[in-house]
């Protein structure tokens, strides 16, 4: 259901007429009385002492210019460069992902926080659209893929949460996502939280790090696919069971039935229904499954993603965020009301 408050505002916007001419033409009381502005003592003085005023201004300007010219020689400036450190960002939509960012603000690695994120990150070409980009750009690419695959419906009010350990990187990424939503005409909010190292590790499930550098190194060392991290150290039997949990086998069977009815080749899909016997087979099948899922979701949600929506003006977007904050107390509370999902990194 489209957000009812937005619907209400749209209804009123679309049905109410503009201001009537008689209202527009009604003179304001001060116009009627011939007084546009209140009396101003300075203005009265200026009207009679213009030459003296400009002479005074010229003298002041000359003095200021002289002092400014001498200042660099008297007090050489010492510009302190802000200390750059690596950082990390955690984006939750469902799907969820962690981005490690180097000291220059460039994404070094992106790892999936859950199996749905694997659908996006299963292909190296998509990863390359994210890694090597600024946090502001790369995070937006991930959000856009989430929207293309139907995980984020740009046509209904929604929210994403972005947490980070460095406020600058976080703010830049938040700003990027907000611009993306406005340009797409999406009433979606970015809930953002600056976390301590310990809080970040607790939220993501990543092993606690002593400093930002260690955290980033931990993230970089992880397999970017959630489904493959889950399989690490498991026996063949456990891997079979894991495959059954991650792959929507019943849904695949339904799709196969429809495809057979349409006379389409189902060989590849049928192979995915068979449980893997080894870890190697698991890896191969899970990759194929996510690639197939990516294509299927891309086609399924193409129309919704491509729907024309008017770009949202900055003031309207800010007003929308304010309305959410009024309704829920804070954006974090809004996020809590939408989801209580927890993602764990292993």
């Amino acid at each position: 259901m489209r957000f009812w408050k937005k619907r209400w505002l749209d209804e009123l916007e679309n049905t109410l007429p503009p201001m009537r001419q008689e209202v527009h033409d009604e003179p304001l009381p001060c116009e009627k009385n011939g007084v546009i502005k209140k009396s101003n003592a300075f203005r009265d003085w200026f009207a009679t002492h213009k030459k003296r005023f400009f002479a005074g201004v010229a003298t002041c300007v000359a003095a200021v210019v002289g002092v400014c010219a001498a200042l660099p020689f008297l007090f050489p400036p010492t510009v302190e460069e802000p200390v750059k450190t690596p950082s990390a960002l955690y984006l939750e939509i469902n799907p969820s992902a962690v981005f490690s960012v180097d000291e220059n603000g460039t994404i070094v690695a992106v790892v999936a926080g859950n199996a749905d994120a694997d659908v996006i990150l299963s292909d190296q070409t998509r990863v390359e659209e994210i890694v090597g980009k600024t946090a502001e750009t790369g995070v937006c690419v991930f959000v856009d893929y989430a929207a293309r695959l139907g995980y984020l419906d740009l046509n209904t009010p929604s929210a994403v949460r972005l947490s980070g350990i460095a406020e600058n990187e976080l703010k830049a990424a938040v700003s990027g996502i907000e611009v993306y939503f406005r340009e797409k005409g999406a009433y979606a909010v970015v809930v953002n939280e600056t976390l301590s190292l310990a809080e970040f590790c607790s939220r993501t499930g990543i092993a606690c790090a002593s400093d930002a550098q260690s955290l980033v190194e931990s993230v970089n060392a992880l397999n970017r696919m959630y489904s493959k991290r889950q399989a690490e150290g498991k026996t063949d039997e456990e891997v079979q069971s894991l495959y059954g949990e991650l792959v929507a086998l019943e849904q695949l069977e339904e799709i196969i039935k429809i495809m057979e009815w349409l006379g389409m080749d189902t060989t590849a899909l049928k192979a995915l229904i068979e449980l893997p016997q080894t870890l190697a087979e698991y890896t191969e099948k899970i990759d194929a499954y996510f690639m197939q899922t990516y294509q299927r979701l891309l086609e399924k949600y193409e129309e919704g993603y491509g729907q024309v929506r008017d770009e949202i003006a900055e003031t309207d977007y800010e007003a929308y965020i304010e309305s959410i904050e009024r309704e829920y107390g804070s954006l974090s509370e809004y996020w809590n009301s939408l989801t209580n999902s927890q993602y764990s990194f292993k």
Binding site: L12, E22, L28, I36, K37
Partner: protein
């Protein structure tokens, strides 16, 4: 609707800035209309009253004290006009007669305005309007309607639940 913004626009209007007045209209007309509608229950009358409200705002702008509550001032003008109209025309329309007027409204039958009318009583409509369109906090609304804050909060929540349920039904 930001209270400070409204105050700023009223101040500029009082100084003779017609552009500020137009901006004020743009920012507040939806809230004024929706508020008047809760009294008049009729699109044509509410629209008429809305235009007259802005006319009255212009005519009495010098009476507005800058820094006081601009929202409340505008709503007071609107409310007084609505009550005068009701008394003058004796057209206090009972809610169960809404169906007869449906043909006079450009709002969709399954839209939010019509649903608001159908499922909420006048007080609930006003509470929802003041909170959603005017940005009043529950405790501020409580002062306006002379009720405890808790009562306003629970009425608002119930009203929104009823509204959402009704809108969901209509979408099916």
């Amino acid at each position: 609707m930001d209270r400070l913004e409204i105050d700023k626009l009223l101040k500029k209007t009082a100084q003779g800035d017609n552009v500020a007045f137009e901006e004020l209209y743009k920012r507040t007309n939806k809230g004024v209309f929706a508020f008047l509608y809760t009294y008049l229950h009729n699109y044509a009358d509410a629209e008429d009253a809305m235009q007259t409200t802005y006319l009255k705002i212009k005519r009495s702008i010098s009476a507005y004290r800058v820094g006081t509550n601009g929202r409340a001032w505008i709503l007071q003008i609107a409310k007084n006009h609505a009550l005068n109209e009701i008394a003058k025309n004796k057209r206090l329309v009972p809610l169960d007669a809404v169906g007869e007027i449906a043909c006079e409204t450009p709002f969709e039958e399954t839209g939010v305005m019509r649903t608001l009318e159908r499922v909420l009583n006048e007080e609930e409509q006003r509470i929802v309007c003041l909170h959603v369109l005017w940005g009043y906090k529950h405790r501020e609304i409580a002062e306006i309607v002379n009720s405890p804050t808790g009562t306003v909060t629970s009425k608002y929540k119930r009203a929104v639940e009823k509204l959402k349920r009704a809108l969901k039904e209509e979408e099916k």
